[in-house]
């Protein structure tokens, strides 16, 4: 098959575009009008007026958060029974389905004879987690969910990325349990 030649028609600059000046003033007009509009709106905001008009698209991050969709997969939590104990029955479904092998469950007896088992320990390594959400889908008891809306996950060491059952049942409001600072106990 012969190669097809495409001739691109480049627009020729006319005289006024070649001497730059009108185009420069057009550009300056756009930015300058934007400047005065935003200055006006900023001033109005300071005086408590025109709150519905935005002067900047910036989200002031630590104070303001971008709204997240409720179906966004964020940090995990373990749901609780009415008495505060975990709903988890240590069926090992999530541990088995997890492609990253980041869940470690040690099963134990549950005091209630109607419930077969309860986790002695439930450890989740966020350093390995790939946020696929398979654990949530696999769980028959609705015991694990990824709906905390926490996505500020950072720690100073790999050990701090490992969450225990206590943390999973009661997620820290800051996002991660702040235990150490550069490996030192604070």
């Amino acid at each position: 098959m012969p190669a097809k030649t495409v001739t691109v028609q480049r627009p020729e600059l006319n005289f006024w575009e070649k001497i730059y000046l009108p185009e420069i003033f057009r550009g300056l007009w756009i930015t300058a009008s934007k400047f005065w509009r935003n200055i006006f709106v900023h001033t109005a905001h300071r005086l408590g007026l025109m709150k519905s008009v935005e002067a900047a698209v910036t989200i002031q991050y630590p104070e303001e958060m971008r709204p997240t969709s409720p179906r966004l997969r964020t940090r995990h939590r373990l749901t609780q029974r009415e008495d505060g104990s975990p709903r988890c029955v240590s069926c090992m479904m999530c541990e088995t389905v997890c492609p990253a092998h980041c869940i470690y469950i040690v099963a134990g007896e549950h005091p209630d004879p109607n419930v077969e088992k309860a986790p002695k320990s439930f450890v989740l390594d966020l350093g390995k987690c790939v946020y696929c959400g398979f654990c949530v889908e696999a769980c028959p008891e609705d015991a694990i969910r990824m709906d905390t809306q926490i996505h500020t996950i950072a720690a100073y060491s790999r050990e701090e990325m490992i969450l225990d059952m206590q943390e999973l049942l009661n997620p820290s409001p800051g996002g991660m349990p702040q235990k150490t600072f550069y490996g030192k106990k604070s």
Partner: protein, 360 residues
């Protein structure tokens, strides 16, 4: 004699304080103005005891950072020239401001004080000399850094600034011919007249082409976008690659001081300096008749304020240009300088001369 010395010292202190404080503020203005132009908020995080006052602490934080930072000299650099380069840049930029008149003659304490640091008959030539010497800072930094990119930046800076210096000088000759003086105070005085008693005879009215050419060439002299070829931060970083700490800070300040200097020259030569339209020594004479009488102090105060206002307006305009236009390519820069601006400035002189002869 001693009183003269004291007055001159006071004037120079005022001028240096004005220029340096504006230059310090410009780091903040640049961030905030660009942010407002681009629908952003801009730097607002530096705080003292929780007070942020629109991010005005950022210049202070910058200075502290600059001073505390390691002052590094690369191996193989020529230490003396390496240290000299930023000093040369900043010194000549500040020295040029001395010839700018920021007010008329003030009658106070039984003597006449001209509000100008250096009353030079050749003020304009002095300013050009100082601006040309500023090139040495760029070249010395490029040569002494022992870095190929710095060397390239220095070369580019030298050729760009020399090319535009010619247009700079020729473009302003038209204004010199109209006012027939090189004294800047005399130039401002000459702009106090009014056409038909209505339009102030500012340089922009009598020399519009000269003003435009001069502004373009002067912006090229400040080495900021769209003429930042010596810097070229996305490709070669430029003549100050190897500088850190306050030495870099001095180059940074030089850019801002030169912006202020250019704004001052534009104001003085083309926008009536400290002149206020229809304001004469005894008050405002409205063009439609009627006089608002004012005392000498009020008139001088208004005129100094008008000078400051015009300078600030020009700085704002230069900032808008810097944050709007993209950079020229090197060949475009040279073509613009030599093939368009230089001939047009020559034609401007010829036409100005013809018109002056015809008017008589």
């Amino acid at each position: 004699m001693l009183e003269q010395l004291a007055i001159k010292t006071a004037l120079s202190v005022i001028m240096v304080a004005f220029v340096m404080s504006i230059a310090g503020l410009l780091t903040w203005v640049e961030r905030k103005q660009s942010a407002v132009m681009q629908d952003r908020v801009g730097a607002n995080r530096a705080s003292i005891f929780g007070f942020r006052i629109l991010g005005l602490f950022h210049p202070i934080a910058d200075v502290i950072k600059m001073v505390m930072k390691e002052d590094f000299t690369p191996s193989g650099a020529q230490r003396f020239l390496f240290t000299l380069a930023p000093v040369v840049s900043v010194t000549f930029a500040i020295a040029a401001v001395a010839a700018i008149p920021f007010g008329p003659e003030l009658q106070a304490f039984g003597r006449t004080i001209s509000l100008q640091v250096a009353q030079l008959d050749i003020g304009l030539l002095y300013i050009f000399a100082m601006m040309s010497l500023g090139v040495y800072g760029v070249i010395l930094a490029g040569i002494s850094s022992n870095n190929n990119y710095a060397f390239l930046g220095g070369l580019r800076g030298a050729s760009q600034m020399l090319s535009y210096e010619i247009t700079l000088g020729v473009a302003i000759l038209g204004a010199v011919m109209v006012y027939s003086t090189l004294d800047l105070q005399g130039m401002v005085m000459a702009q106090g007249k009014h056409l038909w008693g209505l339009i102030p005879m500012w340089g922009i009215i009598v020399q519009p082409v000269g003003a435009l050419l001069f502004m373009t060439a002067a912006l090229a002299e400040t080495k900021r976008i769209p003429f930042d070829l010596p810097e070229g931060e996305s490709e070669i970083v430029g003549y100050f690659v190897e500088y850190s700490g306050m030495k870099f800070g001095m180059f940074f300040m030089t850019d801002f001081i030169e912006t202020i200097l250019v704004a001052m020259i534009m104001t003085t030569v083309f926008f009536g300096g400290w002149q206020v339209p229809w304001l004469f020594a005894d008050g405002i004479h409205w063009p439609w008749g009627g006089v608002v009488a004012m005392s000498h102090g009020v008139v001088v105060g208004l005129q100094v304020l008008s000078f400051v206002f015009k300078v600030v307006a020009f700085i704002w305009f230069f900032m808008i240009i810097r944050w709007t236009l993209p950079r020229f390519r090197y060949d475009q820069l040279m073509r613009l300088g030599w093939k368009y601006m230089f001939p047009v400035s020559l034609a401007n002189i010829v036409i100005t001369g013809l018109v002056l002869v015809l008017i008589g």
